[in-house]
Amino acid sequence: MSQIIDVAHLNYRYPQQSADDLTLKDISFSVADGEWVAIVGHNGSGKSTLAKNINGLLAPVSGTVTVDGQVLTEKTVWDIRKKIGMVFQNPDNQFVGATVEDDVAFSLENQGVPRDEMLTRVHDALAQVNMDQFATREPARLSGGQKQRVALAGMIAARPRILILDEATSMLDPQGRYDVLKTIQQMKAQSDLTVLSITHDIDEAASANRVLVVNDGRLVEEGKPAEIFKHGPALIKMGLDMPYAERLKAALKRQGVQVPTDYLTEKGMADWLWQLSSNK
């Protein structure tokens, strides 16, 4: 697989920061075309700053970002942004349309998509996030979770090569979160979509092919989800929830039970408990 995003020795500081202080410190990684990468880290670790450097909302102090073979510069930023769809945590910050369907259509209008096709794509996208019955409502009057669905529908309709989700499921209920993850999996199956998801949600991180851990502006670890989840209680410090099996392990340990040290999925944990109890 070829690389669609390449970040090399990226340093970033906000204008109000002093010269010896950096929010992102020497970050390098690449993402393969079609890969799903989760970026985790606690609040303030620099995750969102990193995302904004990738689509050129912020410009680094030094280092380069290459997207689909193009180095990100003032000249290429518009080309690159066409390839990237971004959904933020608080979608109020990104609504432009007077109605839900206008909002979803916005980027298609910008791309000059013919009206007939636009109508179909907008309708399909809203149906996929289960918001089609809200097409003519005002985005501002929707609930937090509904707004996140509409923002996501905008991305589904626009069909970007790369989707960046910045805590995009944080306001959804568990079912909504599950639906969004399933929708993204469908989008990936239909095209070679690359996903970068910034998240605290363990299920979202588990859906990724690879997890990057950012702490204090540095990339401190990367691995497959199961490798990262082995850390147990230390995951909380990395800004992730503990997987349920790890939480239960900790509770059992407090009761004096000897628990396995390897990472177990929920199913693995259930099997282990069942085997153990059948010995009684």
């Binding site: 606690h42 909504g176 199913k267």
Partner: protein, 295 residues
């Protein structure tokens, strides 16, 4: 302070093309001193109901009784000040409401609005900042120089500064990392006891409902479909699925174990409850020594 809804209907923008019925025939009681969780699918009407708790919205029909105040469709918007002082609402992303030059002034804004002198209000501000777990040296800082989690705590301090009897929290931990979420939920539990508050929590986190609430109201499509203690609400998993709600992680996991033949009665709601139940069903070899099959 108890709150009671009787036959409340609410319609947004009635008589316009945007007319939307958001609440239908709501009858409920939020008991005085309770920790009430308000749950429901996105768009079920939770946030609309919440805005009735301090008469930001008035019912289209029916009555809302807040303490000894009765709000009807015709209640005047004047003279609601004392009511709003008693019911403090922390909205979603409350940090977006910060506006003052300093943290101290921002927290002091509410009390001054309710007639406190500047000096008194600033004194209250200092107290409230400690209450929400922030250091007093932040008082002189601009709220906009703080981290997201700190900003949210300042906003909450601003609500607490009015010394409400009811604290309403609309998804107060959204966007915080797991460590921040845990700290914030523990803070509310502590505040409830120290300040004798009635707490109303709007949330999607069933684990928070299981861990903190003692009373639950479930909404679906603008109606109240169930009320009761968390254990009653969570004892019928299929019903929750039908209403697009989840189970606490522990209860869901206990169900997996039941499918394998383990038994739980009542269903555990937290991992400590489950661990305690499991201990009864595990052989002695599970404790200490090597993990062996020699039982």
């Amino acid at each position: 302070m108890a709150i009671e809804f009787k036959q409340v209907d609410f319609t947004y923008q009635p008589g316009t093309p945007f007319e939307t019925k958001a609440l239908t025939d709501i009858n409920l009681t939020i008991p005085d001193g309770s920790y009430t969780a308000l749950i429901g699918h996105t768009g079920s009407g939770k946030s609309t109901l919440l805005q009735h708790l301090d008469a930001l919205l008035k019912p289209t029909s029916g009555t809302v009784t807040i303490g000894d105040r009765v709000i009807t469709p015709t209640t005047s918007n004047k003279d609601l000040k004392s009511l709003r002082q008693h019911v403090g609402i922390v909205f979603q992303f409350p940090e977006s409401q910060l506006f003052e030059e300093t943290v101290a002034k921002d927290i002091a804004f509410g009390p001054q609005n309710f007639g406190a002198s500047e000096a008194d209000a600033l004194k209250t501000a200092a107290k409230m900042l400690t209450l929400v777990g922030l250091d007093a040296n932040l008082l002189g800082r601009s709220p906009f120089d703080l981290s997201g989690g700190q900003m949210r705590r300042v906003a909450i301090a601003g609500v607490l500064a009015m010394q409400p009897k009811v604290l309403v929290l609309d998804e107060p931990t959204a966007g915080l990392d797991p460590q921040g979420r845990l700290e914030m939920m523990e803070m509310f539990a502590k505040l409830r006891h120290e300040q004798n508050l009635t707490v109303v929590l709007v949330t999607h986190q069933m684990d928070d409902v299981a861990n903190y609430a003692d009373h639950v109201i479930v909404m679906d499509q603008g109606r109240v479909v169930k009320t009761g203690a968390p254990r009653e609400i969570f004892k019928d998993p299929q019903w929750l699925v039908d209403h697009q709600l989840g189970l606490p992680k522990t209860t869901a996991f206990a169900q997996q174990l039941m499918a394998k033949g383990l038994t739980f009665d009542p269903m555990p709601l937290t991992e400590d409850e489950l661990a305690a139940d499991l201990v009864q069903q595990l052989p002695a070899s599970a404790f200490g020594g090597a993990q062996a099959n020699d039982d």
